[in-house]
Symmetry: C2
Subunit: 151 residues, 2 copies
Amino acid sequence: MTEAFELEAFLPYRLNRAAEFVALRFAAQYKARYQLTRPEWRTLAALGNSGRSMTATEIGAHSSMHKTKVSRAVFGLEQRRWLKREEDGRDRRFEHLALTSAGQQTYRELTALAADYQAELLSMLGAADMEALSKGLFAVERAIKNRWRPE
Amino acid sequence: MTEAFELEAFLPYRLNRAAEFVALRFAAQYKARYQLTRPEWRTLAALGNSGRSMTATEIGAHSSMHKTKVSRAVFGLEQRRWLKREEDGRDRRFEHLALTSAGQQTYRELTALAADYQAELLSMLGAADMEALSKGLFAVERAIKNRWRPE
DNA sequence: AATCAATAGTTACGCTTGTAACTAATATCG
DNA sequence: CGATATTAGTTACAAGCGTAACTATTGATT
């Protein structure tokens, strides 16, 4: 017996739609209030979260962004004086990127908003379903670790 | 006590990364083997799944795509002779879109690949985690129904 | 009937994106 | 040491995208 294909049950479609919806309201915040693009917000988050300086390649690996995205995001953050570059003395191909104090301040404000939003999502989905979603995502993340090949 | 913000635990980030990963291998198939874009594949799937003719607006609502995306996807599928248009006699603003037999054939081939891929994902994640993921996604879908406002 | 509003779908425009080519620096290996 | 390969990061280009403006048609209001 052949089941009819149901787009509504197809995991790539379901995951993509959920991701778009969940990203929407938070993206509105960092776009409207801080004029940040998504790659810029991710770069800020990666740097702020690590608490140290990172190279562009490290940022890309940590947040799974393509290097051209990282390059443009770094440029944007640098223009706003939220990030500064320092070249590596031993190997001048590397640039060590770090948040300025203004950048750290923005990071703290945005992570506070992010925490609020996470709480809002929790109450929107309910604790049990949020648990289930998180468990399922861990499984996907495990699969990514086993198979993911960047570019 | 203030928790440090963890990007790795932030739901929008986790969902987005999972969605990208899961979409990747299947997208490679319809792109390489059928030269389809993602909006084209989704349009094909919506029409094939419904088994009837639909208007562009219906396709957009069903697969949550913007009308310009649908318009371009319809044009692409029409060029490949996988879809034909028929104007509504009573209200000439409407176009009734339906797959040609060649389009239906492509749809059957692609849905067979999709079913294989879904099975592969199931074995990759394991039944229990797939269940959990699905449960969590249902919760998000419920939230979308309550809040989603297209454009 | 005439005007104005609403709807289906397309197109023009500017912005973002990824691919591939590029520069610059370092590593490797004969 | 010199040629080649590799790596970090940037840039040029073309394709994809959403917003907004547009055409065409129908509905609503007076």
